[in-house]
Structure formats: C-alpha cells, structure tokens
C-alpha cells in the first residue's frame, strides 16, 4: 500500500528521485481540498466550543461573556439532569443494540438458510434504512396513537392490554427503542448475512463429515469466523445509538417528563431552548471526548483489520 507508482531503480536514481518527489507532492495536492474543508468546518467549530466551555455564555443575556475557568465543567458534573440523561442514553443504547444484534443475527441465519426469494427478502429488509428517522418516526406516532393507532388495535384484537406507548412513564423509552429496533435490525441482519455468505465452505463440510453437531459447528466455526464482522456492526450501532437524536425529537421530545431525554436531547435543550451555550458546549466537549476515545480504541483497530485484509485479497 505504501508503495508509490514509480519504482526507483539504481540506474536512474536522480530522475526517479525527482519522480518520487513529485509523486509525493501530487498525492498531497489531491488531499488538500478535502482536508481544508474538514479542518476549517470541523475543527474550527470544535475550538469554538472548547473556548465557550471556559466562558460564561447565557445568550438570553447577550453575547458570549468572560472567562470563568473550569466553572462550567464543575456545574455540569454536579448537574443531576446531565447524569439522568446519561443514564437514559446508557439504557437506550444497551437495550436497543442488544435487541438489534440478537434479532439481526437470528434473522440473518433465517435468511441464509432460505433457498428461494433471497433477493426479494433483502430488498424489503433494506426499506427502513432508506427512510429518515425524522419522517418515519413522526408517522410512528400515528401507529402508537392510543385512539387511532394500528398497534393498539391489533393488541386489542388478540386481547392484550393497550398501553399508552408515548405517554406512559414506564413505557415511553421502550417505544423509542422499538422504533429504533424496527429501523436498525435490518442493518445488523444484512451485514451479518453478508458475513455468513462470505464464509468458506470447506471447514463446514469437513466438520459435517466428522459428525459434529450443529451447535458445535456454530460455537467452534461459524461464530469465531463471523466475529470480526459482528464486532464491527456492534461498534457502528453503539456509536450511532449514543448519538440518538432524531427519533427522540419526533416521537417524545424527551417526555413524558424527562424519561426519554437522551444526552443529545438534553444538550440541545440546554443550548438552544435555555440558551445556556456554556453548559451545552461543556457537555458537547465531554461527549466528544467519549466518542473520540471509543472510536480510537474500538473502531480504528477494526477497520485497519478489514482494510488490510481487503488489500491482501
């Protein structure tokens, strides 16, 4: 991968040296436009947020104010609502990602064994991924509606209780989770299915000849070989769930009370409803730091593994 196009030979050292030099400049020139965009519009705002996090900034009282040191950090760490929202985020992420992984993998196995209609099945599975959570999420409110909703109608038909999906304190978070599961389980299933289909055939045939049980094959062959793919899906889903915003915004707006208020939604409310840019920026810095650490330690090794394997193959 690290080799450039022109390979220097000993006979033409100077000419090749120049060519290599110019390769280097050419390659740098190519990345300049993208890097400028990213540095200016991603890092500059970050520096701005970092700066605001050390200042007093209540926009209802005018402009960004004086330097206050670590005050905002202290306030945020002692803010019960912040920790509550962190807890909601953790609950949401653990439940949603767990359900999506388990169901997704099960569905992948189900489809993998199917003999006909795989194309159609896959096409239908993709549909939720094409829709915007903000748009379909809004429509799910109609499905959840206690009066006109289809979900409670079906539950009523089979004699089950008809909950107040979005209004009940104990259920609201689960309703958001259910929506997320609806949208993202197909994502897990599709990728797990691709992983299953890419498995080599020989070890499985050999194991079957040896008379190994299905369970044993799954435990010693299938899952170990699928592990990299599944772990990648897990990490991608976790990162996305932690930043959940759209579904909460259209389904519950954090309510009832604050039982579905995730960190992103609390941050939004603090910054753009209460206009406390200082606390909000401080939370953003915390949040960003956590995500950066996570992607550095979980995602980077994973993707390196995949891309190096791809370049070998």
């Amino acid at each position: 991968m690290s080799q450039s196009l022109s390979v220097p030979t000993s006979r033409q050292r100077t000419a090749a040296g120049q060519a290599a030099m110019s390769d280097r400049w050419f390659s740098i020139l190519l990345v300049v436009p993208a890097m400028v965009v990213i540095l200016v519009f991603a890092l500059l705002p970050l520096a701005y947020a970092l700066d605001v996090s050390f200042r007093f900034a209540d926009l209802t009282r005018g402009r960004i104010g004086d330097f206050v040191g670590l005050d905002n950090y202290r306030t945020v760490l002692h803010d019960k609502a912040f920790w509550d929202s962190a807890w909601v985020t953790v609950k949401f992420t653990l439940s949603a990602v767990f359900l999506e992984m388990v169901l997704g993998i099960a569905i992948a196995f189900l489809i993998h064994g199917a003999t006909v209609g795989k194309g159609v099945i896959r096409s239908l599975m993709i549909l939720p991924l094409a829709t915007s959570a903000a748009v379909t999420g809004l429509f799910w409110r109609y499905l959840y509606d206690t009066q006109f909703g289809l979900i409670n109608y079906f539950l009523g038909l089979i004699g089950l209780p008809e909950p107040n999906w979005l209004g009940d304190y104990t259920i609201a978070l689960w309703s958001v989770i259910l929506f997320d599961v609806w949208q993202w389980t197909p994502f897990v299933a599709l990728i797990a299915l691709a992983g299953l289909q890419a498995l080599p055939k020989e070890p499985f045939e050999a194991a079957e000849l040896d008379g190994a049980s299905t369970f044993r094959i799954l435990r010693t062959l299938t899952f170990p070989m699928l592990k990299p793919v599944l772990f990648l899906v897990l990490v991608l889903r976790t990162i996305d769930s932690v930043r959940l915003y759209d579904a909460v915004a259209v389904l519950t707006r954090g309510g009832p009370g604050t039982v579905t208020e995730t960190m992103t939604f609390y941050l939004y409310r603090t910054g753009l409803k209460l206009f406390r840019m200082d606390y909000a920026s401080t939370m953003a810095i915390f949040f960003l730091y956590a995500m950066l650490v996570a992607s550095l330690f979980a995602l980077r090794p994973l993707l390196t593994q995949f891309s190096s394997r791809a370049s070998e193959g």
Binding site: F26, S27, T115, S132
Partner: protein
C-alpha cells in the same frame, strides 16, 4: 420420506418466520403509503379502517395548501450541491489515500474520527458562527447564514466527506494498479491517468458513494431543524409543519412523508447490491 417431511416442516417454519419479520419491517411504511390515499374522514377513526375509496386529497392538501414541493426543491438543491462537492473533493483525496497512502494511514483515521463526532457537539458553534457570518455581506452574497441553503450545504459536506472518502478508498483499492503503470509508461501524466484511466474504472463506485451521500443529506434532520426556519427548510423539517393547533393532520402528513421517502426507497432498491459495503464504510464487501 420421513426426512423429507421434517425438512419440509422446517422450511415452512423458516418461511413463516421470514414472512413475520418482513411483515413487521414493511408494515409501517406500507401503512404510511395506504394512509396517504385515505379520505380525511377515514384517517382519524377508531378502529382503523382498512377498506376505503382511495383519493388524492391528502396529496392535494400537502402540495397546494402546505406547499410541500417547496421543501422538496430546497432539499434537492442542498443535497445535490453538497453531494457534488463531496464527490469531487472525496474522490481526489480517496485516490491519494488508496494509491499513495498519504499520511501512512494516520490522516485517513483522523478523517474517520471526525465522522464519529456527534453532530450535536458541533451544532452550537455552527449555529453561532452561521448567525454571525449571515450578517456580513459575504455571507449574504454566498447564502451562508442561518436559514440559508449555504449553511446546510456546508454542514452536509463536512459530515459526509469522511464517510465518502472511506467508501471511495475501498473502491479505488479494487482497481488493479497495473493499468495505471502501463498508462504512465505510455506517457500519460498523473492527472491524465486519474481522469482517463482511474475515473472511468471507478465510476460505479463513485456513483454508489454519490447515492449514499445524497440519501444521508436528504434524510438529515438535526442540522436542518436547528439551522433553518423557513427559507431553507428541507423535507424532514417540512413534515413537521403539519402540526396545527387542532393536532396533527395525519392524512397530509402521510402524503408528505410518502413524497419525501419514495425517491430514497427507489435509490436504495436500485443499489441494494452495494448496501452492505456502503453501510460499513467499505469494510465488508458483501
């Protein structure tokens, strides 16, 4: 015979479960499309009605009374412009990463880590910066500012560029480099090689990346919601305009939602072969 029976039962069970799963997945979208064709008196009823005379009333309401095509037009302009910028800047960078390994992988991972930024963390600075820039002459001239298309174009470009670069790198890596070698030996310059040899070969990959970027921009909600009010609002925000004091008009909402979701459904179906690859940043080449 016995074995065939049991395998038949197994297959029946399998397809039964698959139908159940697909039913759960497709039904909300199907019900949305069905609701969009219902006459108003059949939408807000309990129990829900399954038989009705289809009508285009909701579409008429969404398009003429609520001017929903305005949001479509905005969204189209913003997402297409941003996609073009992403593809041009992204392809150049991705080619450089795939062939010359600029930055020994560190730069590529730095780019990926910006993708991991929660959008909400930069939205406050964006809000403040665009608010201030929008008041200057340059900002007004370029349409960069709160409730201006430029603000969203910039946001979507920044947030889609890392993804696009990663996906494009995987496509560029698939192109055999021998072709480039021989083109170079034939006397083509590096830029000519890129334009005449690499780009045609990478065209399908570039198209796939473009469609993904378009879908992400089209469906984006957070930036659109916070950075726009009226002039530059996109479909995801537009659907919310159906909230009225009397409640939500579910018929027109369903119609507007269907209009805004349908183009993306078509796109996604057209390139389902590449979905897995796209969704994993090019890591899984299913």
């Amino acid at each position: 015979m016995l074995q065939r029976d049991s395998s038949f039962a197994r297959e029946a069970l399998r397809y039964g479960l698959i139908v159940l799963v697909l039913g759960f997945i497709v039904f909300p979208i199907a019900w949305m499309i069905i609701t969009s064709f219902k006459p108003p008196e059949d939408v807000m009823v309990s129990p829900p009605r399954f038989l009705f005379t289809p009508t285009l009333e909701n579409y008429v309401h969404a398009i003429y009374d609520k001017n929903f095509l305005f949001y479509i037009k905005n969204t189209l302009f913003i997402s297409v412009t941003s996609t073009v910028i992403v593809i041009i800047a992204g392809s150049l960078a991705a080619y450089s990463f795939a062939r010359y390994n600029v930055g020994d992988g560190h730069l590529l991972f730095f780019i990926l880590s910006t993708k991991m930024f929660p959008a909400i963390a930069v939205i406050l600075p964006y809000f403040l910066i665009f608010r201030d820039v929008g008041k200057t002459g340059v900002g007004r001239f370029l349409g960069i500012g709160l409730d201006q298309p430029g603000a969203l174009i910039i946001s979507y470009t920044v947030f889609n560029l890392p993804f696009a670069i990663w996906l494009l790198v995987s496509f560029f890596q698939d192109i055999p480099r021998e072709l480039e070698h021989s083109a170079r030996l034939d006397g083509l310059s590096r830029l000519q090689v890129l334009a005449k040899v690499v780009c045609p070969l990478a065209a399908p990959g570039i198209a796939v990346t473009g469609v993904f970027t378009l879908i992400f921009s089209w469906n984006e909600f957070l930036f659109a919601y916070i950075l726009t009010r009226k002039v530059a609002s996109t479909v995801t925000v537009g659907v919310e305009s159906f909230f009225t004091l009397q409640g939500i008009l579910w018929g027109p909402v369903a119609a507007a939602a269907t209009i805004s979701v349908l183009p993306m459904l078509v796109f996604v179906l057209a390139m389902q072969r590449y979905m897995v690859r796209g969704l994993t940043f090019g890591a899984v080449r299913g």
